[in-house]
């Protein structure tokens, strides 16, 4: 009902004014305003570290602001806990997973308001039907009785969205909701968001994907360095470049990389008919020296599983892996690193790539300890520092010191630390899994240029990415995986439209209707 837009303009669904929040040594938010009307989808954008997450945590009662006011429907509020925020009608889909793995999908969806009968007894039938309703709405073919820990990342994300919807909040916050969704799942989500908007729900949409912002959002607020760079602007009046300029404070610079043909270069890594316990089947692949070989596919196509098979993290059930033409038996990540100089930059930066509670130094040096060790594993004072320092400098990791806890860095800098680790290890082959997910535009470009430069210097890179522009920009050749098999290999002509069409036709030819929901 578009009539809701004609409500008195002064009553905002949510209004924040002059919000300030400091953490030790950092002013995370410095006088931030945010206004949302009922029946609009409002984009909140900004680079990593601009203050978006802090702002969301203040709205949801996880943090208390040092200063500033928060009003819901014109009434002043002070949230002491996430429950307070929930009761005020604010629902959120967090970027970090907030599901209980051991609980079923239904239990998770109805966690906040479990249906009860006869006083306090949980009504399991209603729990099931209610969750089914939300799952159906989102077209998610998942049995509500399944335990969340058995679900894929994308499925969990969808369940999380279903959970937020089930609260029927009047204000809905979505933090990077599409990060792990396929295009089809994203489309379904957008349809629902539009329906909710028409019902008068105020939706805050946080995303790094500018295409999505323009596709679905009405208005936008831009944060930069803890301050508001643009407040409540109509998105129709802005184009992509203007928005990026607002976000990073200057205009965007996209590097253009030339076409390369490295088919004559020696093959450093070859997979012959590799089948893995984790799913990938009959994979043939050849990575040439200095090449960036892209591995594209939809979520669930088996790319990460293939990477894990290569580094010996999951067992290979048949086939052969050759490194520098020699048959290689890679029993675990340690063997991959020490014997074959293969590194893996995990897509799960925070859980698998880094030790957040340890220092930058300890994180980057992790891969070189064995090499630095002298008698009895003794490490000379200063040896780590000199082995690691140059790479930290080269990647321009912004950290006050090498002793800084990695958890204290922004996402982009964390990713740089995660990469530095493998550069310090002087690997010859690097598997990079979704290197720029959740990374801001500026750092993303820095990482792209770095990857390109490394390849030019002879590092052979297997690039896993679901980001098509990134793939077309960086890869020399693109191997498309569908349904755990290689669907084809395409030389990259760096023409985005042409390449995306070729890739999509490969995907659709192989897995005919890939998106018919059950």
């Amino acid at each position: 009902m578009s009539t809701t837009l004609e409500a008195p303009p002064q009553t905002y669904a949510l209004e924040l004014r002059g919000i300030r929040k400091a953490f030790p040594g950092v002013q995370a938010l410095d006088g931030v305003d945010l206004v949302m009307r009922p029946g609009e989808i409002h984009a909140l954008v900004g680079e990593n570290g601009a203050g978006k997450s802090t702002l969301l945590k203040i709205i949801t009662g996880i943090y208390r602001p040092d200063e500033g006011t928060l009003e819901v429907d014109g009434q002043s509020r002070a949230f002491g806990s996430p429950r307070d925020s929930l009761h005020a009608g604010i629902g959120i889909v967090h970027q970090e997973r907030n599901l209980i793995p051991k609980f079923s999908v239904a239990e998770n969806i109805t966690l906040e308001q479990p249906p009860v009968r006869n006083g306090q007894w949980i009504d399991r039938d209603r729990m099931r039907t209610e969750s089914e309703r939300w799952l159906d709405l989102l077209q998610i073919p998942i049995d509500p009785e399944r335990s969340v820990e058995d679900l894929s990342v994308a499925q969990r994300q969808l369940v999380e969205i279903a959970k937020a919807l089930s609260l029927e909040s009047r204000i809905l916050l979505l933090d990077e909701p599409t990060a792990s969704l396929t295009p089809h799942e994203t489309a379904v989500l957008f349809e629902i968001l539009q329906r909710l908007r028409d019902d008068g729900v105020a939706i805050l949409f946080v995303s790094h994907k500018l295409e999505e912002i323009f596709a679905i959002c009405d208005r936008v607020t831009v944060l930069r360095d803890g301050k508001v760079a643009a407040l409540d602007r109509d998105l129709r009046e802005l184009d992509r470049d203007q928005l990026v300029t607002l976000m990073i404070g200057r205009s965007e610079h996209v590097a253009e990389f030339p076409q390369r043909d490295l088919s004559e270069a020696p093959v450093v890594l070859e997979l012959r008919d590799v089948t893995s316990a984790a799913g990938p089947t009959d994979i043939d692949l050849a990575l040439h020296k200095g090449e960036i070989l892209g591995l594209y596919g939809l979520v669930g196509a088996g790319r990460t599983e293939l990477a894990r098979t290569i580094i010996g993290d999951v067992p290979m059930t048949s086939g052969e892996i050759l490194v520098d033409g020699q048959s290689a038996i890679i029993s675990d990540a340690r063997a991959a690193l020490e014997r074959y100089r293969i590194g893996y930059v995990s897509e799960n930066r925070q859980t698998e790539g880094l030790i957040l509670s340890h220092s930058v130094l300890a994180n980057v040096a992790m891969t070189v300890w064995s090499r630095l060790a002298t008698w009895l594993g003794w490490i000379q004072p200063g040896a780590e520092r000199s082995a690691v320092g140059p790479f930290i400098d080269r990647l321009q990791v912004k950290t006050p010191s090498l002793e800084q806890q990695v958890g204290n860095l922004s996402g982009g800098n964390q990713q740089k630390v995660s990469l530095s680790k493998w550069l310090a290890a002087q690997t010859a082959i690097l598997i990079v899994d979704e290197p720029t997910v959740g990374i801001d535009v500026k750092t993303k470009h820095e990482l792209h240029e770095l990857i390109w430069e490394l390849a030019n210097q002879g590092l052979s890179i297997l690039l896993i990415s679901s980001d098509m522009p990134e793939m077309v920009q960086l890869a020399d050749r693109i191997v498309v995986m569908v349904d755990r098999r290689v669907a084809g290999s395409l030389p990259n002509n760096r023409n985005y439209d042409d390449m995306s069409q070729q890739i999509m036709s490969l995907i659709h030819r192989r897995a005919d209707p890939p998106d018919t929901p059950a």
């Binding site: 953490f23 030790p24 040594g25 950092v26 002013q27 995370a28 680079e47 990593n48 570290g49 601009a50 203050g51 978006k52 997450s53 945590k57 360095d225 803890g226 580094i311 993290d313 675990d332 990540a333 340690r334 690193l337 020490e338 893996y344 995990s346 859980t351 698998e352 790539g353 880094l354 030790i355 957040l356 509670s357 340890h358 300890a362 040096a365 992790m366 891969t367 300890w369 064995s370 630095l372 060790a373 009895l376 594993g377 003794w378 490490i379 004072p381 912004k398 950290t399 006050p400 800084q404 806890q405 958890g407 204290n408 860095l409 922004s410 996402g411 982009g412 800098n413 680790k421 290890a425």
Partner: protein
């Protein structure tokens, strides 16, 4: 973990110890006399080593509920080696320590091969070991031990006026120094902390996590065995009941000292201080004629308090991380 927080822990703990000592000096008759201090130096030494044996496994994010069982078994085993086998003291100690490490290593093997939680594995092992000890010894002690061995735990080394210290405390301090160096300066020390903080990230970065878990449990067994050997030399006889009451102090000393229960951060010298606090409280209260049940209760309270502090620390670490994820990059660099 951040340095300032750790320093605060350390000085805070020292302050608590000073306060207790002040109370005992005033209210507990004979707290500052040579016999008490000498006795304290012996008990603190053993408790500190027990604490270290638990600390190393806490550091990898696991626990060892068999420290008491291993310590008791090794005490008896040492007694048997000296009395019945007739090995010289040095040989008996070496053999006993190797065996202690082996038993700990078995714990580690079971944990890594089965993937079963260290809590349940070591709980089961503790029962098996203690059962075996009582079956094999028929609950008899070895009392006929060489003089060279028992005098070590009974005769003071340092005598400075009223200050007399047992050689055992020097052993404990030496062990602590070695442990501190292992954590600070060796690959293995780093491996242990990385494994404790995030085993998955450690594994993917080339840390041999399974080996680390096994070796750490072996180290824990070795230290528990060392504590057993130390206590037998103090008591002068190898009683099968040694180790029965080690569990509480084994956790209390490292946790009070600032070791994170969740793994990834240890406090070696903090564990020494933790042992000093626990034993001071126990000796001081005894001298004040507080019944032993009350002492038990009090030590329990100290541990609970320490766990609360641990919780606060963990939250502080986590909040540090959260607070930061949104930290403006420019600001952190400045």
């Amino acid at each position: 973990m951040n340095l300032a927080l750790r320093m605060l822990d350390r000085t805070g703990l020292l302050a608590v110890i000073v306060v207790f000592w002040a109370i005992f000096v005033v209210f507990a008759d004979g707290f500052l006399n040579r016999v008490t201090i000498f006795g304290l130096s012996r008990t603190v030494a053993v408790t500190a080593v027990i604490g270290l044996s638990q600390m190393v496994v806490l550091g990898i994010g696991q626990m060892n509920l068999a420290v008491g069982a291993i310590g008791g078994m090794i005490g008896v085993f040492t007694g048997w080696l000296m009395q019945s086998v007739g090995l010289p003291v040095w040989a008996a100690v070496i053999v006993a320590l190797l065996f202690a490490a082996f038993v700990g290593w078995v714990n580690g093997i079971i944990i890594t091969k089965t993937g079963i939680n260290s809590f349940i594995v070591t709980l089961g092992m503790a029962s098996v070991i203690t059962g075996l000890v009582f079956i094999l010894t028929k609950a008899e002690a070895f009392r006929d031990l060489p003089d060279a061995y028992t005098s070590f735990g009974k005769v003071p080394w340092v005598e400075l006026g009223w200050l007399e210290l047992s050689p055992l405390i020097f052993i404990a301090v030496a062990i602590a120094i070695v442990m501190a160096l292992v954590y600070k300066r060796t690959t293995f020390g780093r491996w242990m902390l990385a494994t404790g903080a995030n085993p998955r990230a450690a594994e993917l970065s080339g840390v041999p996590v399974n080996f680390v878990v096994q070796a750490t449990h072996a180290l824990s067994g070795l230290l528990a065995g060392a504590a057993g050997i130390m206590i037998v030399s103090r008591l002068g006889s190898a009683l099968p009941s040694i180790g029965e009451n080690w569990l509480l102090p084994s956790f209390a000393a490292p946790i009070v000292g600032g070791t994170l229960l969740s793994g990834g951060a240890v406090a070696v010298f903090g564990t020494l201080l933790g042992a000093l606090l626990i034993e001071s409280v126990s000796v001081g209260l005894t001298l004040m004629n507080v019944p032993s049940f009350w002492i038990q209760l009090f030590i329990g309270l100290v541990l609970l308090l320490a766990v609360l502090i641990d919780r606060a620390r963990t939250v502080a670490v986590a909040r540090g991380q959260r607070g930061v994820r949104q930290t403006p990059a420019g600001a952190t660099s400045g």
